[in-house]
């Protein structure tokens, strides 16, 4: 039936166009930027995409960009894992126990509004400039959204699952492991993804102030030396890495929760 073929061909075309739209908007942004840079004609204030590409190549060739990226990523992963180690048991316990909720709930709500950047000076005082204070800031930035997310995940486990499991003779540790954890898992993984994003954001804040390597340090140091193109390379790298991390976590999430 030609009519149906036409319609389905139209649908395929529409879908392809939809998939290409994000790419098109990024390209449009690069073009607009390029035009703006040409009009402004001041690479100190706004270097064009070509100039940034060149300095990115330069930084890649002397290895410093890769060093900065790996330094930043290592800190993010370390801090995030450390935060996870505390947030999952604590959030889980708060979600399942009224007394744990009452002991830690208010405390967490009181500390949570203090942004990671406000913790940087005290972190420097306590841990000095370097690895320990950066780890602290990353961990701090990732911890609160994760503990709250995990707490919500465990608190909102549908009672129906527990009732079904109990009527099938499942209780105690087995009930927790086989039912509660599994039912909470989707929200726990979302909390982990959000935590990873915030760990990365906090890290850059920490590196801007107190670091010699890392993407934040690249930005801060280029500002001092007026190398705006290097500064933008650092910023774009942060954007791209954050994007990739989030994409990766979504893939992991989809794989682990493939039963949905």
């Amino acid at each position: 039936m030609p009519q149906r073929n036409e319609r389905s061909a139209g649908r395929v075309w529409r879908r392809t166009a939809m998939r290409l739209l994000p790419l098109a908007s990024v390209l449009a942004m690069v073009f607009a930027w390029s035009a703006a840079a040409r009009i402004m004609h001041n690479p100190q204030v706004l270097p064009g995409p070509a100039a940034i590409g060149l300095s990115a190549l330069q930084l890649l060739r002397d290895g410093s960009l890769l060093d900065d990226v790996s330094a930043s990523l290592t800190r993010v992963i370390e801090g995030w894992l450390l935060a996870l180690l505390v947030a999952i048991p604590l959030g889980g316990a708060m979600g399942r126990s009224e007394s744990m909720r009452r002991i830690f709930g208010t405390l967490i709500e009181l500390i949570r509004p203090i942004p990671p950047i406000a913790m940087v000076p005290i972190a420097i005082l306590w841990f000095g400039i370097g690895w320990a204070s950066q780890l602290f800031i990353v961990c701090y930035g990732a911890f609160f959204p994760m503990v709250i997310g995990v707490y919500d995940a465990f608190r909102n486990v549908d009672e129906l699952y527990e009732h079904a499991a109990r009527s099938l003779g499942c209780h105690g540790v087995a009930l927790f492991r086989r039912v509660v954890v599994m039912a909470a898992l989707p929200s726990v993984i979302s909390a982990m993804r959000i935590g990873l994003g915030l760990a990365f954001v906090s890290l850059v804040a920490a590196e801007l102030i107190a670091a010699s390597t890392g993407l934040g340090a690249l930005i801060a140091n280029s500002r001092v030396t007026f190398q705006t193109d290097d500064m933008l390379v650092g910023m774009i790298a942060i954007g791209v890495i954050g994007f990739l991390l989030s994409w990766l976590m979504l893939r992991v999430e989809r794989y682990v929760l493939r039963w949905r």
């Binding site: 009732h163 079904a164 109990r166 009527s167 003779g169 599994m182 039963w259 949905r260």
Partner: protein
């Protein structure tokens, strides 16, 4: 029998149904059909009922106020299919949840095989209106979830799953996840899961309430097919009188605020034709008993 005061028949030990307003609702004492509950066939059943609800009252919140359920007693024996029918708010689901052990009883006691109910347990299987399958497990893993269902060797487990999936007609879907199944199929899995764990009594809380009319009829037939095979005592909560008349051996009719409770015995032999005069007459009786008092 659901009533403030019960009478026991000396000869059978079974409860005598209340006097309904019509003679047709009465059970002619000699007309018990062969497949109906026959306490004599189970030696222990005559003295020891499978489920005995003894004068229970349940309050939500303030125990000085009006109870959700007041002074309910009933006795159920092996092989019976019992429906609890009534309008919403009559406490039929509360009664079921009390037997399941989810709702604590304020006064009185519930015994299953002589042991007092103190919480949920695998001797009382549940089927929920919302299916309550574990979405992270496959169909077969759901069916084998229970403590008794999961016992034995891999081969025994596989055979057990096959048997119950075959009863509900879902053998081909054993490796699917619940999200890949329709509502009717999910409830079939839930039936298989409950039955595979060999409960003493199966409690079903409006299990087909969320399904469309056609699927509901198919599931009623599946349910009766398994019941005929396994003869597990069933409690089935519904507000659909034609569903109750089609399924049940005995029907407990509950009214709002627990003011009056009645019992109707359905002696139509199975397999039943839901459109037959015999079933339709019982639907009319039931409608009259259930809604007239409103």
């Amino acid at each position: 029998m659901l009533r403030h005061r019960e009478r026991k028949s000396a000869t059978t030990g079974a409860f005598v149904e209340v006097t309904a307003s019509s003679d047709t609702a009465k059970h002619p004492s000699g007309a018990r059909n062969a497949r109906g509950p026959a306490p004599a066939a189970h030696a222990h059943a005559a003295d020891e009922p499978l489920v005995a609800v003894d004068d229970i009252s349940i309050w939500y919140g303030d125990p000085r106020g009006e109870p959700v359920l007041g002074h309910v007693s009933l006795i159920a024996r092996e092989g019976e299919f019992i429906c609890l029918v009534g309008p919403s708010g009559c406490g039929k689901s509360t009664l079921l949840k009390a037997i399941a052990g989810f709702t604590p009883v304020g006064h009185g006691s519930i015994r299953v095989r002589g042991a007092e109910v103190r919480g949920p347990g695998s001797d009382r299987g549940m089927v929920f209106q919302e299916f309550a399958l574990f979405p992270w497990l496959t169909v077969q893993e759901n069916v084998l979830f229970g403590d008794k269902a999961s016992a034995g060797s891999a081969q025994q487990r596989y055979d057990r799953a096959s048997h119950y999936l075959d009863l509900v007609g879902l053998t081909r879907f054993r490796d699917h996840h619940p999200s890949q199944l329709s509502g009717g199929m999910r409830q079939r899995v839930a039936l298989a899961r409950a039955w595979a764990n060999q409960p003493t009594v199966l409690l079903m809380d409006e299990p087909f309430g969320a399904l469309d009319a056609r699927t509901r009829q198919e599931l009623q037939e599946t349910l009766l097919r398994i019941f005929e095979e396994e003869r597990t005592l069933c409690f089935f909560v519904t507000h659909d009188t034609s569903e109750a008349a089609y399924l049940a051996d005995r029907i407990f009719i509950m009214h709002a605020h627990g003011a009056r409770r009645e019992e109707l015995r359905i002696d139509v032999p199975r397999p039943r034709d839901r459109h037959s005069d015999a079933v339709q007459e019982q639907v009319r009786n039931l409608d009259r008993l259930a809604w007239e008092a409103q």
